[in-house]
Symmetry: C5
């Protein structure tokens, strides 16, 4: 997440550099053909482009509103994970007679949080963080999950044997939650709590399964590819046709001119078609970079930071005093 | 679900091939009449078409936003089914004294999942997977529910007698859930669990009934036919009128031309009307193919894969080691 | 609910026949005055009509999106009623010691379902099923609540005395649910179940009250009349002004024509204004017919069919074998 | 709530009379200046107005969609209050051993409903029911909360002492709910119910606090004033500029005319600018009158009627037979 | 929150003064260059600006609809905090045997409310309350959290030792909730309540954690910066290009004029471009000032007032009579 006031326009232009080059080419070619090669018939009616432009604005607007919903839902899910983690800490501490056992439950929960965030950062084919535009940008901030291994993180919270078992499991987060269940069963058997407390904690476990499932859903079910595809086709077509539609609009202006610009107005098609196209491709790129809120892009939901917050809060509840520091943003970006 | 980066444009064109042929015909006829038969009065004012075009964009946009909601809700329901299945596994194992009985409850749950996915794949009259466009495409991927029978699947999880009874039931999923209830009653009677645990598990059953009902709702209540119908009429009318509206727009351009294209600009109506119409019909087709998220199309919610995931997770919880492999995509498509 | 592929265009035209007649008149009059009476000043600028057209598209789009939400919510509520009914069956059977008592609870629930669907089918002043367009159409399908009386339906599930009392109640569904509560109190007093089971079932009753309230809300709170009114005014004004706005657009085309159509292009205003207006009035009519999802129109939520499904499922749970058949659609329509 | 088919157009015009007068003046002045004072430069380009018109349509559409959400949510909250009231009646009767005590709880609940509806009808500065347009209209229907005092209503349900205390409380509804809690505590102390029933009823109380809070939220948090303000500015600016933008559009038509209208087309600006502006101001006024669903306007959520329904249902549950009649609409309006 | 009828237009203009100055400059420069320096080629085609204008309206509309959702959700969360606080008061009083202990729980809850509102008022880099426009305005109202310190507020509710500990905690609200949990554990150990009441109160604590988390989410997760950035670019570009697009539209009008305005129509570009641009920038500014509902701006959710209401209600429940007065608005603004 970018936590500054806003991106600077220069950052934005740098980020969309590759598109701009392409758009310039797409703008220059028709003008050269029209003006130098005198292919006047290349100038198509503006009405065609205007209709396409409105439809494209609809489509791109729809996509952005859906990607916004995705990131917002992702933040909701993780906000609830953070809140429920705090609640788990309080409940574990209050229900169990032994503080030691409560600590075990809380540490295993921290392990679950770590497993979750590593799982969320795994790459998917439809994510855009591997695009050239984004790779270049990614050097400016750091992704905690790329810097230490999951094993090292889990080792902080789990005993040696449990760690080994977890690492073998297909879905580590599910495995850890399932182990929490087993632990509760044992604690109940040892009369650490009464049956209604046991049932209450099992319900909380079920809620964590739901939260995990929701997070996995956003990770694993992208903005449907059929919509993404038609979106891309719309925008590309629009950018392609726009300069052709502008040719005559600018050419007409020559009539009423005198002086040096007379006859040369068509060259203005290049900057204006680039400008308008760039607006649409940038909008598309903003959508793309928001679509997958866990891919490790600067627009991600800051799950690493939130897990750290949960860790601090939970260990403070246990009365620990050597707490890790909150995650700090780098270049205004924190993940 | 398509799990690649996106559909290739060539795939997209192939998928909409039939519409393209039709649109070409619809574009050529008016041009020939106008240009060759000299029926100049066929050129209608652009304003009529522009107004229709805007209204159509509204309507198609509305449909797509609703079909998107449908697929997203379908994924939510199945995401919750997956999460709740994991929770069911943990709860069954933790509450029951006997591991054998827990396994029975969990296996019957797997049977319910199988019954659900077979029920979801049954065809409905309004689904579009039987359209020629889609049948051709469907050879590229596989639908697990078409490859083995429900009976074979259920046999893996149920005893012989129970299997027979289930196959006779009107709604197999309901029957299986009802059997779970009976089993819980018996387990409670045998003092496998205390009354508050029994009540808690009955509540979970009720939640499964709600999830089943939501899934059935999306299956059985299509995008309302009255909306679908008017949608189709809008798009068809627009595609029909578009070339007529473009005739004069392109004809006017002849005035300012010289050279070979002079007098022939009207022929450009064909590619441009096909292009614009194709955008609209493709948008419509994308909507159609998203509308029914369980019909066995490449854009389905991957319920077979999710049921497999649930199976792996639940059997891992039971300590089984011979687990089935996750379902793999074929040509980037997994169902 | 229409359960076919879609309405045929001919059905659609037949359904909107009355509007079409009116629109033809509204199109012919201005053309005759303009062309024959030579009142050229009747041709108003297209800009006025275009602005109105866009605003109208907004407004009609908004209405349709709200009516869609209404029908979708209605289906959700009834989907949840169906699921919760199944759950009620399982819970009643599992909690009670006596199968006889469980049957009583389940049969009274079926009576509640019947009361609900009869209550939902009662006419309201704002519903459109009494419009001539719709009455003619309504002969093609059947409304089960019009064919048998509520008394006959309730008699299947209730004892004679209870039936009498129910028929006297102001709100029959509320009365039946309240009787369920009394029955639970008695069953608890007779130690048919323990207190936590009693409390659990009372909670389920409360959920049924909420579902009933939601269904009544959709029935009794129409799309607000102030919105409906301004909507109608917009559409009527648009249809009225459209032909006037088209007069000059078509008249201008005469200049560039030769041959028989020269001077007669204005007559084309009639088909095109009818076409465009028809699109808007049809959209409006589709909205109207979706607005009230329980009025007995072909676009209703199929509550009779869903109650039948519930009946079959619940009686199957009781082990009954003489089950009623599912409700069949007539002319592709099932209510 | 208006419960008829729809408002008549004449009612609508009467309701917006004041705006119409103003709009006529705003239309006549520019025409007179342009035509009579020959200030031709007052005719501004249509493009300016068209751009403003589209943006205004967006903004007004957004407002109406939000005000619609507000009234719909208000109806949901009160629908849930009604349903939960019925549930409260059943639960009170079923849990308590003494019918007398149950009656007390139910009567205090009716007092709470009365306190709620009086609180909801209190005026707020941003409500529009004090506008001249609306005051005139308000003589056609009746607001029950204006006809009897809260004290008289509460006296029906509460003992003398309790009534006195309630009237002193800052927030009467909160006070009454808090008294319900005290009564439950006492009933539990007197062993009228067991602890799990006591807890269950406290939970229901908490739900009533939430419902009360939601209703208060809609009452006390208007459509944000900053949005309302910019909305009004948009609409006013549009209405102001519209006639100026139309001047030249109509003036141009003179060229092609002969006869009496030649040179006088500009006068048509008056009716058309009034018509278009009226559409926008009416839309705005419909939004305003929907914004505050409890202000006592004809478009209110009918909370008085719903409270009466609750009273009838609850007293029928207590076996009472002298029930008050349902609230009847007056001139198709019921509050 | 502004609680008057609406902002006055003069207030609005004062608030947007700085933008207006800038827009005037941006309007004057092109006109001077076009008219005085005779750079006629600066007049670009209107079509370019119209397309950009429509797209900008989309984007700004989308932003405003999202910021509206944010403030509405913020109000929902705090409405639920208020309602749940009342419920906490009732539950604490009803469940505990000792009134003294209940008071302790309730006072600690008031401390939590105070900690929450101070936390919500902390500045964030993306908030706009530090902008010059807003600082000037902020002198007109008062922010309670700026007038007394958190320490002073907490001291009203907590013992000396507890106060010290709280002030050391990283997240004070979390710490206080965690202390509530500890207190409940102790009360249960001292048999002040039975286990099911203890569990019920722990559940309520968990709900408070969720509400806290939701409030923090809205505070800490701004409208995504990538969207905010592209929004700003759109609006700025539009305002920059608008006067260039208007030049020729107004210049054309000169042809048909006579008299003093002939040749000077281009000067009208200044007021009209300022007017239209101002509409867009104001809309943007309204969005900005709504985006962060806890920043201390006049459009904030009134959390200080709501906390005061909660305090009055809770202390009234405890039977206290020296209640603080409700927070009063200053210049129609209350926070």
């Amino acid at each position: 997440m970018h936590i500054g006031k806003s991106y600077r326009i220069s950052e934005f232009i740098a980020w969309t550099k590759r598109d701009i080059y392409l758009l310039v080419v797409m703008g220059v070619v028709p003008v050269v053909l029209y003006q130098m090669a005198d292919l006047k018939w290349l100038g198509i009616p503006w009405t065609v482009v205007a209709l396409l432009g409105t439809a494209t604005a609809f489509i791109v607007g729809f996509k952005n509103s859906q990607t916004y919903s995705r990131i917002w839902e992702a933040r909701q899910v993780w906000g609830d994970i953070l809140s429920s983690s705090r609640a788990w800490g309080v409940t574990s501490r209050d229900y169990l007679k032994s503080a030691e056992k409560a600590k075990e439950l809380i540490y295993r929960h921290l392990a679950w949080l770590a497993a979750m965030r590593y799982q969320m950062r795994e790459p998917r084919p439809w994510e855009s963080s591997h695009k050239t535009n984004n790779i270049r940008y990614s050097r400016l901030y750091c992704i905690p999950e790329k810097e230490t291994t999951l094993e090292a993180e889990l080792a902080k919270y789990l005993s040696c044997e449990e760690l080994k078992e977890v690492l073998l499991a297909q879905n580590k987060a599910t495995y850890l939650m399932s182990t929490q269940g087993k632990a509760l069963k044992e604690l109940f058997a040892k009369e650490e709590m009464v049956v209604s407390q046991f049932i209450d904690m099992e319900k909380v476990l079920r809620d964590f399964f739901l939260l995990q499932g929701r997070s996995e859903r956003i990770k694993d079910f992208p903005y449907p590819r059929q919509f993404a595809t038609i979106n891309r086709i719309f925008v590309k077509l629009f950018c392609l046709l726009l300069p052709f539609g502008l040719l005559r609009e600018f050419d007409k202006l020559n009539e009423s001119l005198t002086g040096i610009m007379k006859g040369n107005m068509v060259w203005l098609v290049v900057p204006f078609s680039v400008l308008l196209s760039w607006i649409y491709t940038s909008l598309e790129q903003v959508g793309d970079s928001t679509e997958c809120p866990f891919e490790g892009s600067p627009n991600d939901v800051p799950i690493s930071q939130m897990c750290r917050t949960a860790e601090i809060d939970l260990r403070e509840m246990l009365g620990e005093t050597e707490l890790p520091p909150p995650l700090e943003p780098k270049n205004s970006i924190v993940l």
